[in-house]
Amino acid sequence: MRLFFLPDRFVLMAVFTLTALLAAFAFGPYPLSPGDVLRALRAGPWAENDTAVVVWNLRLPRIAAGFLIGAALSAAGAAYQGMFRNPLVSPDILGVSAGAGLGAALAILMGFSLLWVQGLAFCGGLLAVGTVYFVAGLVRRHDPVLVLVLAGVAVGTLFSAGISLAKVLADPSVQLPSITFWLLGGLNAVTTGDLALAAPLVVAGLLPMLLLRWRVNLLSLSDEEAAALGVNVSRLRATLIVCATLMTAAAVAVAGIVGWVGLVVPHAARLLVGPEFSRLLPAVLLLGGGFVIAADTLARSATAIELPLGILTALVGAPVFLVLLARSGRTT
């Protein structure tokens, strides 16, 4: 008699993600029927008609990028929440996204290649989460859950200021549009080249999480409990921080700072399949991918002009965060 992990919960999530996927192919300035979409997908990318161009060249890279960053940010969020024993944290609240953003902005400012944008984004993200974790560890007399959130907000603000400075220093004709465009957060500028670089990085971060899926659970216990159960706590936590930060940085380098996904999706997934990480991880990948695809479809087809993706995710994410904050005193 298990309350969680009814297989139909996964069927439900798969249906949600597939629906979002089909809708994403169908909606937009050039609307297609689901039948058109399926026909074009079956015909392959070489068919010489408008539908094939729209489906294969325009929408597929964007949808793939949406799934990739949604899955990456959500898995990173689930890992951060577990390893910091804190249901209120996520890549953006911990300042990781801003740190990665600053790293990427610096790389653009210096005219570096895409690989360097990814590399510096990762360094910036790691620096941010390291600072937050270190500073929060120094504070002893306050609620550790809130201290981590506050330290994250402070560090995130600092890195955001750095990003603003990078914009001031940028060459207004070439670099500034590029930085600003990318910082708005969104999938409209994603190229297959971005994807080809980001996807392996996301997979590289995901793989250790998949392998260590059971042990991740133990980090939600106190350090001495986890240690007594046979886990090298500091090594496992460091491994997971690197993995989650790598995934966050890859997502930020592709799509700019898309907030709230990494906070909301793990909570929704936990409600559906429970907190056990080997069940939670596939659930957040599926839901996170579907969520960003759905939000992006809405962003580009709801109004005449395209809305930034981050606005829509904030519209869902911020109220959820406030509800969690209000409930956190009772549940933990």
Binding site: G82, S222, L229, G230, V231, G274, E276
Partner: protein
Amino acid sequence: MSLLEARGLAIGYRGRRVGGDIDLCVATGEVLCLLGPNGGGKTTLFRTLLGVLPPLAGVVTIAGRPLRDWSRLELARQIGYVPQAHAGLFAFTVEDVALMGRTARMGRFSSPSPQDRAAVGVALARLGIAHLAGRIYTEISGGERQLVLIARALAQEAKMLILDEPTASLDFGNQLRVLGEIERLKRDGIAILMSTHQPEHAFKVADRLALLKTGQIVAQGMARATATPERLAVLYEADVAAVAACLPATRGKP
């Protein structure tokens, strides 16, 4: 042979010494009870013996080998730890919480196998809580959580258990069940180090007692000879007559 041995142990945090000159040993099939007031250094001592906190001085050996030479995984097969019942953070099922005890018996990259689930089923049944397996850990009572944490340590199949006030949050029936289980583990050859605030529990299960106050072991030895009303009165800063009135009468002696 003693499974756990501490010689000249000084405990504490960096820059804050909590206690020192601690000599302890626990042999297989032996129960050592730690008695002492709150803030006396019990938790710090346990953290040091578990290898979570480095000793400030002295040595701890497990099965004759210095503590720092053990890997976490190997150590978890030797010593299990039962903390005081905690609220828990995420809504794990009781079975999942108990399965965490099997981590040291799994491969590094494995998830629980059917054998692990079977071992957990046995452990839950031993403590009479098999019916809780599918319940959510954060939603059961504090006493039930304590039993789950003990079951988790049983599932770990360690050679020694360290229990931090295992009976503190239990009702009378469950206190007896846990004390009975401790006696049974002892007969199985498990070494046990536990702390308690109830001298009568110590008398029931302990082979030896150690009295801990302000980080020092003030007395150690056979249970009844060590925990005299006079010593307990000093230990807890209480009145001798009041302490004596609370202690169970000595059986078999006039």
